[in-house]
Symmetry: C2
Subunit: 307 residues, 2 copies
């Protein structure tokens, strides 16, 4: 048993809705707080329990996350629901600890170059923030997770060696992280790479939950999700309608599509507790509040299996 | 060695362009013969060698295939290129044998109900046509392949049992088929089902090549292709831009996207001989001649790996 075991039990597949954070990262128009609550409530009724609710960032630069506290509250008020918030710096950490979130998630770039270019800090400084988060959250505070960005390839330096990523996983575990994640931030990976690194990272993590965060940039999202599941991963991120772009890959789609990954999980015999028809219906919220955003997903278009 | 070994060597991955047939099955506007030649020549220059060129069907009902002989000639004139044509009945078989094609492909429905509903004949009658094709083609005639439609699920009867499909594979082999295919005609399959049936069918086929024909109806196309490759399949169908719909699944996309399956194959280390940039550029032909058709594909949108 670890601190995260009751949130991420190893015998269940957990699909996390990250659209409210990753999906809104680059949009020009976004749902207001009531619409976000509607999105959450309806996905909750469809069976989802884990939501990334936003990011603690300066309101002036990221007004779409100005209501992160209210959105977190909306999740926390639902029985057994779990609210995750992204934190990128000391100020955000302070705000997140003062708010009511179940999990604080931090980012560590897999490469020195991306760490500097994207976060203006070294990898050591990023890990130092992880340590401070764990020290500050107290005995009944939120989980602290670390997502390793560019774990399957870097938009600046290209190839990323698995051994370097595994060393970072180990460092995060030593720093006390409750949950570790591997992100294919720019959609470089194919399923064999995802399978290999997921298996290896899973060994390093031991009882600590490992999540995989995939982007569908080059159409490998579902194949990579299947590979991660085959490699033993039981926590995967996705967004309704594949919402979201990527600042490092112009023209790219967002996260792997939630509706399609649910269908995938069903074909693999996982009991997700998610109702696909109800889930597809939630796309209305996105269509209504962000009419200019392209929504992806094949299951939503073709429907679940007719018979 | 079998009759098909030099066309489908087991040590190479062969990706076959089926857009000129399956992709044009339902369109209202289609490329003229010159544009089809352009499509073929440019894909050939990108590295493709196997093309399904059309179907021998009544011109009045399927005018998009009226030029199937000229299109077949366009392929056959290219060194090492291979022209495949679909045949659905006795008359089509006679026409195909009189024309210059390298492979005649026939369809056998996996279910009794779909065979009657779609082809107005029994499975036994479909197999009888396979026998007649083999008897008629002579010692230096074209290959005869059989694609088993609805092999992973049927739009009429739902679940299809692997053992029933494997029995049909065996029947086709006994009838003398040179190549066997399994088609997920309506996009019911997930990767585990594709992996299982591909492995089992591969055992039944022995030295006879096995192709997998996938539709991306519910977004599983690339994941299923990865599963088929993992299961040992070395011949996969795809169409440029994922062109094509499906008469049995309204709203469905067409075949798995060629550009994305090439990217997948690259991540798996297969030497396909296909240049992704050149391949993506061929979409121009489709966009120009069929402006109303939606073209799919993530690699075309995001581009191949930048570094």
């Amino acid at each position: 048993m670890t601190r995260a075991s009751h949130i991420y039990p190893k015998d269940r597949l957990i699909l996390r809705e990250v659209g409210l954070r990753d999906g809104l990262q680059m949009v020009k128009v976004w749902p207001d707080t009531d619409a976000k609550r509607d999105w959450i409530n309806r996905e909750y009724n469809a069976g989802l329990r884990h939501f990334e609710v936003g990011s603690f960032l300066p309101e002036a630069r990221f007004p779409q996350f100005a209501d992160v506290r209210e959105v977190a509250d909306a999740v926390c008020n639902l029985p057994d629901a779990h609210a995750i918030a992204l934190v990128l710096n000391e100020r955000g950490l302070k705000d997140a600890l003062a708010a009511d979130v179940d999990e604080i998630t931090l980012v560590l770039s897999a490469t020195v170059a991306h760490s500097q270019a994207n976060q203006h800090r070294s990898q050591a400084e990023a890990i130092e923030l992880v340590r401070r988060a764990i020290a500050a959250r107290g005995s009944d505070g939120p989980l602290v997770s670390v997502g390793i960005a560019m774990a399957f390839g870097c938009s600046i330096t290209g190839r990323v060696l698995p051994k370097d990523v595994l060393a970072l996983v180990d460092t995060c575990l030593r720093a006390g992280a409750d949950v570790i994640g591997l992100a294919d931030t720019v959609g470089f990976a194919g399923p064999d790479e995802v399978c290999f690194l997921t298996k290896q990272a899973g060994k390093v993590c031991g009882p600590v939950p490992l999540f995989i965060h995939l982007h569908d940039t080059r159409g490998m999202g579902i194949a990579n999700a299947a590979a991660a599941m085959d490699a033993g991963c039981r926590v995967l991120d996705a967004s309704l309608g594949g919402l979201g772009g990527c600042p490092f890959a112009p023209g790219a789609t967002g996260n792997v599509v939630m509706e399609d990954i649910v269908f995938l999980a069903q074909t693999k015999g996982f009991e997700t507790g998610i109702n696909l028809d109800k889930l597809i219906a939630v796309r209305d919220v996105l269509q209504r509040t962000m009419p200019a955003e392209v929504l992806y997903g094949a299951v939503a278009r073709a429907g679940p299996l007719p018979i």
